[in-house]
């Protein structure tokens, strides 16, 4: 027995050694991914969105941007390097590995270990100090807000020339919905006496920080064409943008399919594994598995042994590009990958009943504002994960990696093309719930300026900014207007006007309630502003709507002279959350109210109203139209150029069309169409249709003359059905774009 036991033990020991050897070899083997790129400032890569600085504890208010980054653990004089990379060269990739390398300029006298910690708050290099992260906004924790544990560490000694940190998880997260605020490099052994100086972005290119990324690209040009019980997918295999790793090549795709809803983010083929055709991966079924470089697949009874598409069902396809080692275009992280390209189509027996998306793009969190556009080129949309997306309107691909801002974006961000902007740039103005206002170059993603327009604290912002164009209104620059949503007061909210080129307050900005107005001897209270102001070029004024303390005792519609700040208040309309709308000739202004009022001590829902206002005098034109359908959603829309005007709006349960005759002034209801929780409706000149999103997961195409529901296009009607937001129409491409609560944006061709 003893001998026998002894032999078994020897065999086990040998087996363990063998396993350990194999494991060690596997670990030592290079990770094979398809492409690799080194991001570093160079003659061809300016790293325009990259930035870095040193945060210095001994000089806590000093901004330190220069040729070096210093990291030190000296008690009371800690230095930390903060840095962020511009990932624009790889906008549509699935990250497989990432390594941050800092080049040592002055090595420490003794061995020291540094950690790379992902930063958790928005910062700007030209403002960052030990105490402050951007403008006048401070870090929550002096010295930089960052994760508790380092993603990667590197030990540096007196002879080191580099410090390399493995940061794969962070970079994958940035491609998967987390804001990219870069890294904070800290001395893990602090306090100590070690100091290391690294090269910065400002330094010579050779010593600038490097980020080495291995990745698999997405397919490009993904299309889905519905037929009778069939869907034909087409795609392109992309050209390399990096250096091939090993002898790997892109060699095909794996396609997952799901009915009703998009394939969810936890469903993907595992890297290095070839999935079985017709197997189920999460919520998707593998309906196509190719390693021969095919660029199309017709999903029908002849080709699909897993079950051909059925007419009338919407199918979502997620297309994973693969390389010859079976690495796929997704992010292999714990909370799933939302990155991979996807598309949908609904087969039907007749062409009229068929439908398909032009593209689907991940936005990672709810956004229901209408996307802003440079028609034919770019659609921009915010996200409540602090990200701003610029999507190629043709392909649906990201123009560049989403821009990480300081807070949630809960409104439409006006996008001004270079020909119209006083900045000379394609520019997007954004407000966020971090209380910051941004001007962002939409061609590069570079933040042209960001301001906190108050000297301390942070504004509460909900509505978007409006832009008065210098090219139309005159003056020396575009002007950006917005209002605050400070719910701690019903009297003292503010209206701001900023120089569109610099972000500086105009001389009269801000107006702070109670506001002295031109049409009353008493100052008027200003309640919260949830809407985006309206620029009235004909009358040379700005219109702002606000709430009015759930009553009619204070104004909720304001007319402001943009040059002087002189304000006229239009009283007694009640709470307004919707933005106002002007007719084409600006002879009538329409506003829609919330309809609530104080009952007892509680603000209670009631009937809302659509008012027609004379924009010259501010006087109501005739009686308002009273709606029993809840608050007006987003804004009313005027559909024609001459009276009688067709005014369309949404309430809680339906879309409503009214006519408004100017003389005598009067509203007349035309039709109402029941739609589940409709978005703001939209149409365009010459169209016979009105488009409206719904909580049923579709966009409805209504006949303008009767309200008849002609055809619906599906965004997502399955298990993860979302509410569809306010649409935007791109007349150049004849497309409509929406975002939904299912964390995606969709593009469709119109008419449906």
């Amino acid at each position: 027995m003893y001998q026998q036991h002894s032999i078994i033990r020897l065999e086990r020991t040998s087996w363990r050694r063998w396993c350990a050897l194999v494991t060690a070899l596997l670990i030592a083997a290079p990770v094979i991914a398809r492409e690799q790129i080194v991001l570093q400032k160079s003659g061809t890569d300016p790293q325009a969105r990259g930035e870095d600085a040193t945060l210095n504890q001994a000089s806590p208010n000093s901004n330190n941007v220069g040729n070096t980054l210093t990291v030190s653990g000296i008690t009371g004089a800690n230095d930390r390097a903060i840095l962020e990379f511009d990932l624009s060269r790889i906008p549509n990739v699935g990250v497989k590995s990432a390594t941050l390398t800092l080049n040592v300029v002055t090595a420490p006298s003794a061995s020291v270990t540094y950690g790379a910690y992902p930063v958790s708050a928005f910062w700007q290099a030209n403002a960052a100090t030990w105490k402050t992260r951007v403008a006048t906004t401070t870090w929550t924790t002096a010295g930089g807000d960052a994760a508790a544990t380092a993603t990667g560490t590197a030990t540096v000694n007196a002879s080191s020339t580099t410090a390399a940190f493995t940061v794969t998880g962070d970079v994958q997260n940035w491609y998967n919905g987390s804001a990219n605020y870069g890294w904070l490099i800290k001395d893990q052994g602090a306090p100590d006496t070690s100091t290391t100086v690294f090269g910065s972005k400002q330094a010579s290119n050779a010593t600038s920080p490097e980020l080495t990324v291995q990745f698999v690209q997405n397919v490009t040009g993904l299309t889905a064409t519905p037929g009778n019980a069939s869907v034909t997918l087409g795609w392109k295999i992309p050209a390399l943008i990096g250096t091939p790793v090993g002898a790997e090549t892109y060699k095909g795709v794996v396609i997952l399919r799901r009915a009703g809803s998009p394939v969810d983010k936890s469903s993907f083929p595992t890297d290095k594994v070839n999935p079985t055709l017709c197997s189920t991966l999460g919520t998707g079924v593998v309906v196509f598995n190719d390693s021969t470089g095919q660029t199309s697949f017709t999903d029908n009874v002849a080709n699909d042994t897993c079950g051909a598409p059925a007419n009338g069902t919407t199918y979502f396809y997620k297309v994973f590009l693969r390389d010859s080692s079976n690495y796929y275009s997704y992010q292999p992280i714990a909370n799933g990958s939302t990155y991979t390209d996807e598309i949908s189509a609904t087969p039907a027996a007749t062409v009229a009943a068929q439908q398909n998306t032009q593209w689907i793009a991940a936005t990672f969190a709810t956004d229901l504002a209408s996307p802003s556009l440079i028609p034919g080129l770019v659609a921009a949309m915010g996200s409540q994960t602090d990200l701003l997306f610029f999507i190629n309107a043709v392909s649906g691909m990201r123009q560049f990696v989403p821009i990480s801002l300081g807070g949630s974006i809960a409104s439409r961000s006006p996008l001004i093309d270079a020909a119209s902007s006083s900045t000379g740039l394609d520019i997007d103005y954004v407000t966020d719930q971090d209380g910051l206002i941004y001007a962002i170059n939409t061609d590069t993603g570079v933040i042209d300026w960001v301001v906190n327009p108050i000297t301390s604290g942070a504004l509460s912002l909900q509505g978007g900014p409006a832009v008065q164009l210098e090219s139309v209104a005159g003056g020396s620059n575009d002007v950006v207007f917005f209002g605050t949503r400070n719910t701690t007061t019903t009297t003292a909210n503010q209206i701001f006007a900023l120089n569109g080129n610099t972000g500086a307050n105009l001389s009269w900005s801000p107006l702070t309630g109670p506001i002295m107005v031109t049409n009353s001897m008493t100052a008027q209270n200003l309640d919260i502003i949830n809407s985006t102001p309206l620029v009235d070029y004909v009358h040379g004024v700005i219109w702002v709507t606000s709430r009015s303390a759930c009553g009619t005792a204070q104004p909720s519609l304001w007319q402001i002279n943009p040059t002087t700040g002189a304000t006229m208040a239009i009283p007694n309309l009640g709470d307004i959350d919707a933005s106002p709308t002007l007719t084409y000739s600006s002879d009538v202004l329409f506003v829609g109210t919330v309809g609530d009022s104080i009952v007892g001590t509680t603000c209670t829902a009631g009937n809302s109203s659509i008012y027609a206002i004379n924009p010259t005098t501010g006087a109501p034109l005739g009686l308002p139209y009273v709606s029993t359908d809840g608050p007006i959603v987003s804004y009313p829309v005027v559909l024609n150029a001459a009276p009688p005007y067709f005014v369309i709006f949404s309430g809680t349960t339906a879309v409503h069309l009214l006519t408004f005759s100017v003389s005598p002034p009067a509203f007349t209801p035309v039709w109402s169409k029941t739609i589940a929780n409709p978005s703001a409706p939209i149409s365009y000149t010459g169209s016979s249709y009105v488009y409206v999103g719904s909580s049923d997961g579709t966009i409805h195409e209504l006949l303008l003359t009767t309200g008849a529901d002609i055809k619906d296009e599906v965004t997502n009607i399955g298990a993860t059905k979302g509410t569809v937001g306010d649409p935007s129409i791109d007349e150049v491409l004849s497309r409509i774009y929406v975002t939904t609560t299912d964390q995606r944006a969709y593009g469709f061709t119109i008419p449906f």
């Binding site: 958790s120 994760a147 709810t366 409540q384 809960a410 509460s460 829902a605």
Partner: protein
């Protein structure tokens, strides 16, 4: 928008002292079940969090679980942390729509001093009145989910009504 406060009210401390006494007695009578496997010092308790939801404008917070979107301008989501070890931390708060889709995600860094026993409460304001919640009738059972340093610690539902 996030706020972080250290609650230091005397009555709160009295409550904690009373709770500590009860806990001490319980440990004594439980045969030292909290000692580690090697019989040494007890392992540190894992971080935990509890939620409370308040109408920001209400004179008092009664930890209600249902709110009217018409009457509530802002909903305050309060996360009370316990057993958070000393050091720097990042809280991630996710607000999920009825049905489970993500509505909003926010991060906040905070630090805990060595030996600190002050209750730690993080407050996030969720705008309600006039937002998509009211305009698009996003009513029903919402979920708040909070993570500490990437690990989910607690979830809690709250109902929004028209």
């Amino acid at each position: 928008m996030f706020r972080l406060i250290h609650l230091a009210a005397r009555s709160y401390r009295n409550s904690i002292f009373l709770a500590a006494l009860v806990l001490f007695a319980a440990i004594q009578f439980s045969g030292c079940q909290m000692t580690s496997a090697n019989g040494g010092t007890p392992p540190p308790a894992a971080p935990s969090a509890t939620f409370s939801f308040c109408d920001k404008e209400a004179p008092s917070c009664d930890n209600e679980t249902s709110f009217s979107a018409t009457a509530t301008r802002d909903l305050e989501v309060k996360v009370s942390w316990q057993n958070v070890p000393a050091g720097s931390h990042v809280q991630t708060l996710e607000i999920l729509l009825p049905g489970g889709n993500l509505y909003q995600q926010t991060q906040m860094a905070f630090g805990v001093s060595q030996g600190s026993d002050e209750p730690l409460v993080a407050i996030q304001t969720l705008p309600v009145a006039g937002t998509w919640i009211q305009q698009r009738h996003l009513m029903g059972e919402w979920t708040a989910r909070v993570s500490l340093d990437g690990q989910v610690v607690a979830t809690q539902t709250v109902e929004l009504t028209p």
